[in-house]
């Protein structure tokens, strides 16, 4: 039997001259599951697009890609992968129509039913579906014509952790051979039989998932593994008086109670995590702690009220920097009293201290990566000499390496004697970073 995918010597150069892939060779045997893992910018998306024939106009591809028929495709975010103006049924049936075929009677229904989805809901529009279900519908559509190969590009990254497994299981059931593109090494290890590590456009290491995790050989792979938050986590909480103490906080917006009962104590040098799904009230809690809005009930004891004693780190790092300002101005914004030259020097020092010394302090945020932006944002927070830093999903949207760097930086901030609160839906992150993790569910916090 011929392999489901055979890529040999594939190089891709974009129109602007960027070389995204350099001589990549890969094979996916029939029935095999290969995960391609890499940091953002490693070329893994280009690889997926090349296999699917979706390279943009003007991109130059050399080498060869051989597939056994047209591959099925599962995209990253099910909501953007489905036309919001069309029904889910249309989305599934398009698998046949786009190939110039007529969907056999009942075939779409059978495909979604096979993944335990409700057939009646096919007449609904995507926004009426949940993300996990919609992604399973996409998987059903990808497998509709029984392709020899299915390409899945970050199929779970838009989903909550407990839905990811469901989706991966569905993918495993419906696909023949599978090529999964992911930044998540742990996910790759769990679901793929073989992992290829992509770095700067080239495959640096290939091997069975277990071996790669246990014994990474290439330095890049080692960095990826090292950046994984250790599941065991749990550091000894440093003893000390609580710096910030919240008791029975509550906050409602109109009829909707966002936070119903939350109590928390944070000491200097401590990192406290708050875990919860979206809509559980964690962002509101954070705003209460940051003093951005007053609680309806409960008490909040804060050490002092000088400006800058509490500083935020936001979810969308790039949006949190003024796009028109050079980064040195953003970093040193809290230092309102100093002259520009002095401030610039401080910014250069600060950048060097977090491994961004190579950046020109006059750069504007538009030219930085998301991870670099987040580090700049943390520098701005630190510059105000805060007693408390509140971080809201500080690593969302970042690749593993960048997320690891940001987490490390937050840890350093805490070690400097600042209290840090991190809220996230990512238990792995919190486990590796925090001294103490609380869970919040429907506005009620449990220790």
């Amino acid at each position: 039997m011929s392999p489901a995918l055979e890529v040999s010597g594939l190089s891709v150069t974009y129109r602007d001259g960027t070389r995204a892939l350099r001589g990549v060779s890969l094979t996916v045997e029939a029935g095999e599951r290969l995960a391609v893992v890499g940091a953002s910018g490693s070329g893994k998306s280009t690889l997926a697009r090349a296999v699917l024939g979706l390279l943009p106009r003007g991109a130059l591809a050399e080498g060869s890609i051989r597939t056994d028929g047209r591959p099925g495709y599962v995209a990253q975010d099910p909501f953007t992968a489905c036309d919001p103006l069309r029904t889910v049924g249309h989305h599934v049936r398009e698998a046949w129509r786009a190939a110039g075929l007529r969907a056999p009677q009942g075939a779409a229904e059978a495909a979604v039913a096979a993944l335990s989805l409700e057939v009646a809901a096919l007449a609904e529009h995507p926004h009426q579906w949940s993300g996990g279900m919609l992604q399973r519908a996409s998987i059903a559509a990808a497998g509709a014509l029984s392709p020899a190969l299915t390409v899945a590009d970050e199929p779970t990254s838009a989903l909550d952790a407990d839905l990811a497994d469901e989706v991966m299981a569905a993918l495993g059931r419906s696909a023949g051979a599978l090529l999964v593109i992911t930044h998540d090494l742990r996910l790759a290890a769990r679901w793929a039989s073989r992992v290829a590590v992509l770095c700067e456009g080239g495959v640096v290491e290939t091997g069975p998932a277990d071996r790669l995790l246990a014994d990474p050989r290439h330095p890049h792979t080692r960095a990826l593994v090292a950046a994984l938050p250790s599941a065991s986590g749990g550091r000894a909480a440093p003893q000390g008086p609580a710096l910030v103490e919240a008791r029975n906080l509550a906050r409602s917006y109109g009829a909707r109670a966002a936070v119903r009962d939350a109590s928390l104590a944070i000491g200097a040098g401590q990192v406290v995590g708050v875990h919860g799904r979206s809509g559980s009230g964690k962002s509101t809690l954070l705003r209460l702690l940051a003093g951005l809005e007053p609680p309806d009930a409960g008490t909040l004891r804060l050490p002092e009220r000088r400006p800058g004693w509490v500083m935020p780190v936001f979810q969308d790092a790039r949006a949190s920097l003024d796009p028109l300002w050079p980064i040195w101005r953003t970093i040193t914004e809290p230092l309102t009293g100093l002259r520009a030259a002095r401030r610039r020097a401080r910014a250069v020092e600060a950048l060097a201290s977090v491994g961004l010394g190579h950046l020109d302090p006059r750069t504007r945020p538009g030219r930085l990566s998301a991870g670099q932006c987040q580090r700049v944002a943390i520098l701005r927070a630190v510059m105000a000499a805060p007693a408390l830093v509140v971080a809201d999903e500080p690593t969302s949207g970042l690749d593993t390496v960048a997320a690891g760097r940001v987490a490390g930086l937050l840890r350093e901030v805490a070690e400097g004697g600042t209290a840090v609160v991190v809220v996230s839906h990512d238990l792995d992150l919190l486990g590796g970073l925090c001294d103490d993790v609380h869970e919040i569910r429907d506005g009620v916090m449990t220790p």
């Binding site: 103006l85 786009a98 190939a99 996409s138």
Partner: protein
């Protein structure tokens, strides 16, 4: 249903505020209405008692709110006063001119749709290649060529040189194509730009990539996914242009001596015939709001998320 009511209530509020502005403008205007009314009745050199009589008749001595309320009351019951120029009721003048303007605007819209879509599709299909450049060029030219220049040229070349169509339009269907085409030229560019943008947005969305990965060609992607996404913004702009055509038609109607509301407005301004100016502007506001409400409803009907 509640949404529709809210929409209508908001439109009514805007209309009310606009009516205050329209009325207030006339109040600010220099000149004595009584003299103008007398002039319209053939009294060129009135004596003081005549002026006083007309002032009393028009209630010019009353307080401003009283006058506004009376004017608004009249407007709501279809009485916008009488033209200072002809002495006829403004509503009669408007009613006489409205069909010609409607005919012109509807024809212009009908003429604009196909070229607008053709340009937009050429641009979206041939993105970054010559068809796109061509369609962008046409759009730019369409937006930059003033309609009065186009109209004058069409009149000279098509009608006078080639003898096709008529110079003095009487507002019937037979005379409509040329002025409608002139009016459409400006709309085409605007619509094509909006449609092209929406098509390109839809074509670069992830769901379009999914469709392509499944084997769809570009044309199929644009037809199946692009069109539904281009419809709402196009409808919104179309509603506004159709409603706003009355103002745009003023220029075209004047060039082609089209007996419509737009030319009536220009004639009334030149003759300082304020009641007619007020009537035309109010009619324009009404048309524009109707267009906006219709576009809003159509957009909502077309998007399941709303």
């Amino acid at each position: 249903m509640r949404r529709l009511l809210r929409l209508l209530a908001s439109a009514a509020g805007t209309l009310l505020a606009a009516s205050l502005l329209v009325w207030g403008l006339a109040e600010l205007s220099p000149g004595d209405p009584a003299r103008q009314v007398l002039l319209s009745r053939g009294v060129a050199v009135p004596v003081e008692t005549q002026i006083e009589a007309v002032r009393a008749e028009l209630g010019l001595g009353d307080a401003a709110p009283v006058r506004y309320a009376r004017w608004l009351g009249g407007a709501l019951t279809g009485d916008l006063g009488s033209s200072w120029r002809t002495g006829r009721p403004v509503t009669a003048e408007l009613g006489e001119r409205l069909p010609a303007t409607l005919r012109l605007c509807l024809t212009a819209v009908a003429l604009a749709i196909l070229p607008a879509f053709a340009l937009a599709f050429a641009g979206a299909l041939g993105r970054h290649r010559w068809p796109d450049a061509l369609s962008r060029g046409v759009m730019f030219a369409g937006a930059a060529v003033p309609s009065f220049l186009l109209g004058v040229a069409l009149l000279e070349i098509v009608v006078v040189r080639w003898g096709v169509g008529r110079v003095v339009a009487d507002g019937g269907w037979a005379d409509t194509p040329l002025p409608a085409a002139t009016l459409a030229a400006g709309i085409v560019a605007q619509w094509a730009r909006v449609t092209r943008g929406a098509l390109i947005d839809a074509a670069s969305a992830p769901f379009a990539d999914v469709s392509r990965a499944r084997g769809s060609g570009e044309l199929r992607v644009l037809l199946v996914h692009g069109l539904p996404h281009a419809a709402p913004p196009l409808l919104a702009v179309a509603g506004m242009t159709v409603g706003g055509l009355l103002a745009g038609a003023a220029v075209v109607e004047s060039v082609f001596t089209w007996p419509g509301v737009g030319r009536l407005l220009v004639e009334a301004i030149t003759a300082r015939d304020l009641p007619v100016v007020q009537g035309c502007v109010l009619a324009g506001v009404l048309a524009f709001l109707a267009g906006a409400v219709a576009a809003d409803l159509a957009t909502r009907a077309g998007d399941p998320r709303l």
